[in-house]
């Protein structure tokens, strides 16, 4: 398995995304996840026991990550023991994780002191965070397929990428019913998020896979500033196709996301079922070529045309201003001869 973790803070030391969660329990079992502290809702400031002041969003994403990681560390084996009962029992597992988060956040809240002003209303929450995680394992008892338990709250996402393309596994929890493309432009508020003292829920999806795939957990800083969902797939594959090893791929992704994103970036990816980097890269050559030729190159050409048109318009406006200004200088004396002085 190849693991890629990316973490870029918009302002160093103040990133409200937690660092990505990426745990490999064995060669065939692991956990990835991301947590996005919600800056607007979590803007209340708190002091910890050492007197350091942080926003509720900063603290919340890290609390949620810590609680989730701890829960899976102690409880994940239940999923392996469920066997044929897995589909029926997974809901109670997710329910237990929900309780762990609710209880854990209340307990951890006591370690912090908030400011004197107490705010109310749904725009502000205590330690609010999204979550998007996947626990994956090879189910030897059930034919050797990979099982994937996807759990999420909010608008951070889990994706699956295979030869047929990128698939979003988590439905964004938004107040408005926007799809992935329209929400880039409409930016709806999140309708459900993890927070202390509030009633929230976790969604889940159980997926079996025979064929190799890539799992990706990503906060919205990774995909929310690109022109379309297709551009996110292209960004992932462009880095992969143009790299000769995982470290190079990671660096290319980091450079591209660092230059595009206007928010914190947290991403964890893992390749499942591939025999090495070369096989992984070669598997996506055709898919990359399709995206590049059918969409991205055309969009880039259109963007160049738009830029040229803007330059032409700007030059024409400047020419007009200059002409008017010059003519006014010769026109002005006669025009103002009765009002000057």
């Amino acid at each position: 398995m190849i693991g890629i973790d990316l973490f870029i803070e918009k302002i160093e030391g103040q990133g409200e995304d937690a660092e990505p969660l990426s745990v490999l329990y064995s060669e065939t079992e692991g956990l990835i996840g991301v947590f996005d502290g919600m800056g607007g809702a979590g803007s209340t400031r708190y002091q910890d026991s050492e007197g350091v002041t942080r926003t509720g969003a900063y603290i919340g994403s890290r609390m949620a990550k810590e609680i989730a990681a701890g829960f899976f560390h102690f409880e994940k084996d239940r999923l392996l023991w469920y066997g044929r009962e897995l589909e029926h029992r997974v809901e109670s597992f997710v329910g237990d994780l929900t309780k762990a988060l609710k209880g854990g956040l209340i307990t951890k809240e006591k370690e912090y002191k908030s400011g004197n002003i107490s705010y109310r209303g749904d725009m502000l929450k205590r330690f609010p965070s999204t979550a998007a995680l996947t626990y994956y394992w090879k189910d030897i008892q059930q034919g050797g397929d990979y099982k994937n338990l996807v759990i999420w709250a909010g608008d951070s996402r889990v994706y699956l990428l295979d030869r047929q393309g990128l698939k979003q596994l988590t439905k964004d929890e938004l107040k408005e019913d926007n799809d992935a493309f329209s929400n880039i432009y409409k930016d709806s508020p999140v309708s459900n998020s993890i927070s202390a003292g509030a009633d929230f829920h976790l969604n889940h999806l159980l997926l079996s896979r025979k064929e190799p795939y890539i799992l990706i957990s990503a906060t919205d800083g990774c995909f929310g500033f690109l022109e379309s969902p297709m551009h996110f797939e292209h960004l992932l594959l462009d880095g992969l196709i143009n790299s000769s090893n995982a470290d190079e791929w990671k660096k290319k992704l980091g450079d591209r996301l660092g230059s595009v994103a206007r928010d914190d970036v947290s991403m964890a990816a893992v390749t499942v079922g591939w025999n090495g980097f070369d096989e992984l890269r070669d598997a996506f050559l055709l898919r990359y070529a399709q995206l590049e030729m059918q969409l991205v190159r055309k969009v880039n050409q259109i963007n160049s045309s738009i830029l040229k048109c803007k330059e032409i318009i700007a030059a024409a406006e400047e020419e007009k201003r200059s002409l008017l200004s010059q003519y006014w200088q010769t026109y002005k004396p006669e025009y103002e001869k009765y009002i000057e002085g």
Binding site: K10, G39, G40, S43, I117, S118, Y119, R120, G121, D122, M123, L124, K175, E176, I184, Y185, K186, D187, S188, P189, G224, F225, L226, E227, H231, H234, L235, R256, S259, V260, A261, R262, D263, V296, N300, N303
Partner: protein
């Protein structure tokens, strides 16, 4: 692949209680009116948010049952920075006076704010209403059959109607764009709004004492974080 950036079209409606006890906050708003635009741009820039268009409007309110023609005054939207002088001129004429009994007509001001002529330009719009008052609210149902002569027509007749205006399907405000920020006491109907209305933030103040304990900077932080 081009970066989207974050560019916002922001409409801000400031609802200010202009009764006598509000002298302190009105003074602060006036002081900062001239630099309001640059303050907002500066703080938004720190959060890597760019304002493409900013318009600000002021609604002052008092008590329709006491203050006659001075009960509510509503400006137009001023585009900033282009109309910064006109905005500052309007604000300079606002003064704290009158009010009579403790409840004031804050709900009517909120209704008028919701019905503002919001911008339709721009992809990422923000429609922010901010209310400053140190008083509770007269119920909208008060004297239903005998409203004062200067009471505006077309306002909601009940709190439920006002709630529909804010949260209902036919609200003139967009769910993703709207924000209501209340610097108001923990009193009727502000607490109900904070509890049940969507996209609302309530910063409770002590009723009857003006808003002296609030720093203008803190208020600004809350407004910026809400955008």
């Amino acid at each position: 692949m081009e970066s989207q950036g974050i560019k916002y079209s922001v409409d801000l409606v400031l609802c200010i209680d202009a009764t006598g006890s509000m002298g302190n906050i009105i003074g602060r708003v006036k002081e900062n009116a001239v630099k309001f635009h640059s303050d907002l741009y500066e703080r938004m820039k720190k959060k890597d948010k760019e304002i493409d268009s900013l318009r600000v409007k002021v609604i002052t309110f008092r008590d329709f049952y006491v203050d006659g023609e001075h009960s509510m005054l509503e400006s137009r939207f001023y585009s900033l920075p282009q109309e910064e002088k006109d905005f500052a001129d309007f604000v300079s004429k606002v003064y704290a006076n009158g009010g009579g009994d403790e409840p004031e007509n804050g709900l009517e001001a909120v209704a008028a704010a919701i019905k503002s002529d919001w911008t339709k330009i721009g992809e990422k719009k923000r429609q922010v209403i901010v209310v400053w008052t140190d008083a509770s609210t007269h119920p909208l149902e008060k004297d239903a059959s005998a409203k004062p002569g200067n009471y505006p027509a077309g306002l909601p007749k009940t709190f439920d109607e006002l709630t529909d205006l804010w949260d209902g399907q036919s609200s003139p405000m967009s769910l993703s764009a709207k924000r209501l920020i209340l610097f108001t006491p923990d009193a009727d109907c502000w607490t109900t709004m904070a509890t049940y209305w969507q996209n609302t933030l309530h910063c409770p103040s002590k009723a009857g004492n003006g808003l002296g304990e609030m720093e203008y900077g803190t208020m600004f932080d809350v407004i910026v974080n809400s955008i």
